[in-house]
Symmetry: D2
Subunit: 260 residues, 4 copies
């Protein structure tokens, strides 16, 4: 299990959410409270949108808690939309190519969860990638693969929720064919520079937690935060996103829709 | 273009060949003489056989010349059969997973060269891997892919030279189908703990250089060295391996055979 | 708090103690049981004596649990005397230069503990180093500094226990002058290729734990292991070393003496 | 010999100067033209001023040419004042702590050159640091030491040129006492967020090169660039800064003064 957060709103310094909170992601890298894997030390990453269409991405294999570059970066970069992720590997190697967020064109994606029986199903899923996205595959994770499959559908014109829904359904169908009984768990966020879609899903009703709250002026600006767990002991203001739900964050606020 | 060396013979310290020579591989990492890419600073690796069947492997993304671990390791590890490789990347990312030597079971493999039009051909070649080797694919390089394709044939009972020959022919055939006109260049070595096969091949008769000489008692023991280029200005004793040739090194000496 | 182990005895593969045990050091890097800092992910190191006088050393800033090089190395290197250490930093940066074991000539040293008020006292302690050892200072840790101060006394002819005792006493005296009330805690091991001295000391009687047991044939050979904590749930055979004690391990067995 | 560049002017993306030019610093990391060490692959760093007083700093031990984070960062960070540096180590280890630019409070510093006989003189120079700056010493380089000695004088009220001049004179005096005949070479830049001072000095009249030119609108904004060597074959517009000169860049333009 990994931990992540996404922010959309007024332009604020990344450290307001990534480093400063009592249970910031940097601190969660050392010890998360609601995660099964107590340490998320298998690399981390941040992604942010600035003045260009392509987001900035910084990924590193060191634990987040010991990386001075990360602190300096978060203290000096401001953004209206950013992602941060700390990784607890689930079988695939420790490499920058396997760290979240993944990026492709204007899109950022990060994931907490796992495809059950990934080793058995990986090849059949990779076979579904169109050539140009197959060539974009740089690492070995199930997360990157899901991302590219979603992108493939979005390129065909599907909306983000539809694309995600279809990819999850196809994956479940393939798991059934291969008689995989481990669950498919999927808490994830996907951004395009303008809006963020956040998902909470699991085939066994034990989806990784996902919370939302409004950011306040005290944090540098008004906006919305989605996070794997509340960033402070005080959980007031944090709302647990129900399983099977998609959250769509935009400039104008947020909306909820059911997945599928 | 990368640089590499392979040794088989009496048990000697790795530093005798990897670090001490005038043009040692560590120095070649900073500046090779016969290589087109003057700097081989995109990672390196060593592999060696000790008392277990599976070889030891140490790969790192830093340049070899600046890695204290490499020097300490080579000064303290002795082996009768070892590989060393410094990398100049040709398009795929800098990651330990992309560094040579690659290993699978008792086998070590390293490569200097390139599959022309790899981006176009990669998918069709990966499709030829049996499932259990597809699952072993950890990086993105053409070199690792060639290695796994060779292993697949060896597992079917083919000899090492036959397996390599078939994989090269298949690759060339596929390149022709896809109308790829860039060359396939392949200087490589494959070991199993007992013997080493070294190959020098190119579709355009401009194969990466590959030399051989006998190691002397002054280097700690008698044996045979195969290297991308002579390890000293004094090239006496070094024999250039002709293109299209396979060299087979064993305990009892070496033999030459034509590839294909 | 860091975690470490030292072995002296028959020549065995490092992985027998470093990787395989139920609570191996690699596993302790992710979660130690008796350590205050639950994660020892701020780098690690191993040091071993082979056929040369100078030991091999491999240190890395990644967490031990995610380093494939470490596993491969430990599976292929055999030694009669080796150290392994996983680090939880106490204020100084994450860098290979700050990872244990430290080495100088034929000596290896590793440490678990802390000099109280190190920031205040560091300069006065560094001033005590002779020029040639001052020039050997590569990192910023209190541990490396203690090691070099001990070496300075050993070079003057003092025995290892005397040198350590004097350095601890001088440090305590300096702490008193500077009115530092934080404790000096010191669990450490120092080797010279022939023997190991292990120390357990604290100014506040809360020294980091240190255990000893005999290694069995089942682990590849007979010998003695000193470790921060037992390597298995089953603690039978493990003896807690009392505070204020020095353990001297040699080929012929071990002896205990009081520190100071 | 290292390579560096400094920019002050309109707010522009870092990649305009760091990555895009024909002879950009990223390309110089692989092969510099006017540098004696052809490869500057021993780490790199960038520092930039944004909306906070403390600059952002990103330093890494990999070669600049292979770091995707660097490219992504430079493509997404804009600044009115930034530094970039690629390192060719001169004896001290490869570690982030030894990479330029160094930072302290609002100051950034980078250096190309060397203190002759640094090993002999280091201790006497470190002894001149006030306690609070001694405690800030994180690496082992002569460059960081010069920076902290300059800061010490600036904290006493000296102007930047006076502080640098005094530190260079003191260093030369100490070198004379210790009968060091190797030269002191110093091409450097120091910034405070508002202005940049660039220095070119050598005790043997063979100072590392340092050039200046105006940045044009085509690069995203008007400003001034100081660099170790011209960023393109076309050297028009680049002015070689004479030895013994200080260049002061500010919002209103630049001025020249003699050093000392």
């Amino acid at each position: 299990m990994c931990r992540f957060l996404a922010y959309l709103g007024d332009t604020i310094f990344l450290d307001e959410l990534v480093c400063k909170p009592q249970h910031s992601l940097v601190r969660q890298s050392l010890r998360a409270d609601q995660a099964k894997a107590v340490t998320n030390g298998d690399g981390f990453g941040i992604g942010w949108y600035g003045e260009r269409q392509t987001p900035g991405v910084y990924r590193e294999v060191m634990p987040a808690w010991s990386d001075e570059n990360l602190l300096a970066l978060c203290a000096n970069v401001r953004s209206h939309l950013f992602f941060a992720h700390v990784r607890a590997a689930t079988g695939t190697g420790i490499a920058r190519q396997n760290c979240h967020p993944f990026h492709y064109g204007p899109y950022l994606f990060m994931h907490n969860g796992q495809i059950g029986g990934y080793g058995q199903i990986r090849r059949a899923m990779e076979a579904r990638l169109p050539d140009h996205l197959y060539a974009q595959r740089k690492g070995a994770t199930d997360s990157e693969l899901l991302f590219l499959l979603i992108i493939a559908r979005m390129e065909m014109g599907e909306s983000v929720p539809d694309a995600v829904n279809q990819v999850l359904n196809e994956t479940l169908a393939m798991m059934q064919v291969l008689q995989i009984h481990e669950p498919l768990r999927f808490a994830a966020a996907l951004a395009d520079g303008e809006q963020v879609h956040a998902f909470r899903f699991s085939s066994d009703k034990r989806a990784p937690t996902l919370y939302m709250r409004e950011a306040s002026e005290a944090e540098g600006g008004r906006g919305l935060v989605v996070a794997s767990e509340p960033l402070a002991d005080e959980q007031q203001g944090w709302e647990l996103i129900p399983q099977g739900m998609v959250l769509r964050l935009g400039r104008e606020g947020f909306s909820r829709l059911a997945l599928g």
